[in-house]
Amino acid sequence: MSPRTFRLTDSALAALGAGRPDADTLGTLRRAQLSRHLLLLREIRRAQPEAPAWFARLTAADPDEARRLIADPMTGLWAAHTLRDGASADGPRPGGHSLHTTCADLTLTVRVDDADPLRHLLGLTPAGPLSGSELAHWQRCLDDAWRILVTRHRPAAETMAAVLRVIVPVRPDPAAEGISATSAEAFGAVAMSPPADGTALAVGLLHEVQHSVLNAVHQLFDLVQPGGAPGYSPWRDDPRPPLGILHGAYAYLAVTRFWRAEAPDARVAGAVGGVAGFEFARWREAVMAAAEGLLAGGHLTAAGTRFVTALADEARPWLADAVEPEVARLAGLAGADHRVRWRLRNLTVAAEDVAALAAAWRAGQPPVRVRSVPTAAPGRALENSPRVRLARTLARGDAGRGESDPVLTPGGRAAAADRACLRGEHGAAENAYEECLDRDRGDDRAWSGLALVSPHRAVRERPEVVKALASALPEAEIGVLADWLAG
């Protein structure tokens, strides 16, 4: 008898898109991943004339134990690696420390894997073997995270319990506060730097579990057609293809829902505030913008359109939630800050276009039309914005701390400009950023800050063009150039 193909009802696919899969659907995804591992292992075995030791080990095991070993995320990673690169004859060897945490009647069991020689394939630099105190830190954070999730985010906790199997500790990135990653080849495994606390772990795991779920769905059904050009993604500093943007939107759907549910504790006069309100306000806009961009972009398949429509339908009502005006302003500023930094990092104007613009300026003619084009392969990036960090500090209600925030202490003039920017003192901030640019017209931190506060449309909307032209015409005033460019 032929095996049955995997199927999902339309309502199950829509529920997945909305980030609310039920237990049956998650069971289907797990069976699909077990089937994937079995197929890959079969292919590896059939390519060898003799049964290797790993095959003998797996086939001699008790059926339930064999199934558990085969379903392990690191087995999937090993199998994909071996088929692609033909390495590692030893076979999968899940290792590490098993951690359990229970709240109410729900238990999460994960293996903290600090031993698998292939764990670097999750994409980040693995930490070495954990000490007793490091393992205790993971257990403490896991207990705290699980209590938060089970008591206030029960459906998300149930999804996590059904999906998450392995955490691979990785080295922290000095350019970021906390980093984590997921590979499409290891369903249920997460690479993560040591979390600061239970909340940070809860948010990071929610985020990464969404990636695993989306990877499993995408292995069943193509959601995105190949070939889409990389574009803006509100949560990455590098350009992302449409599937990458979908990954971000889906992961942040869960993050946004988390902060929305956390926000009532920070409710003042009916509007949410504090860090929860800040994160909620920032990411609801980003998720909706990304979802709408995907739906309008023409790269989704029929299944992808169904999935993303459900995602957008889930997030759209959140736009109507009241957020404390000052917190909403800071969240909007953080979102705009990311977009202008992204433009300055990833978009450029061809040298001949800059020369044509400069010639038109010198001749007293109107500007020629120029295109902003992506720079060549800038690669994956994790960057920290001092303004976003200050925005979080202010949203926390810790306004005085902004004066002495260590992240702003170096840099003097730029730090003062950022503080004025974050306080909404646009005139003072504009002057301070322009002073920075008088000294160095290549200063991207000043350009991105200026783009947030400038009254000149060209600076706000196409800072990379104004920067290129202002660098070619150092004698010209930036505001005058910007007005000329805007026509």
């Binding site: 032929s2 095996p3 049955r4 193909t5 995997f6 199927r7 999902l8 009802t9 339309d10 696919l13 077990l34 089937s35 994937r36 079995l38 197929l39 890959l40 292992l41 079969r42 075995r45 095959f55 086939t59 064999a66 085969i70 088929l83 999750l122 994409g123 990135d173 970021a176 506060e177 906390g178 980093i179 984590s180 990653a181 997921t182 590979s183 080849e185 940070a200 948010v203 985020h207 990464e208 990636h211 292995q219 069943l220 059904f221 193509d222 990455r236 500093d237 293809p241 599937l243 990458g244 971000g248 992961a251 029929a302 299944a303 169904r306 994956r380 994790l382 960057e383 920290n384 960090r389």
Partner: protein, 62 residues
């Protein structure tokens, strides 16, 4: 992937080319030759060779 229809606008179910082997044993699968297995495997191996970054990363400070 295929979409089954019941005559109305939305498909009633979404069908994958991937097959459910979760109840099979590895030894049994190694011995089996089957075109549906080959088709499903091709989808997986295509994924392995697809260009692009398989990693989705998260920076909590972004």
């Amino acid at each position: 992937m295929d979409a089954g229809h019941d005559g109305v606008e939305k498909p009633t179910e979404w069908r994958s080319v991937m097959i459910d082997l979760a109840d099979a044993s590895l030894a049994e699968l190694v011995d089996r030759d089957d075109s549906t297995l080959s088709r499903a495997l091709r989808r997986l191996t295509d994924d392995l060779t697809r260009p692009g970054e398989p990693i989705a990363g998260f920076n909590s400070a972004v």
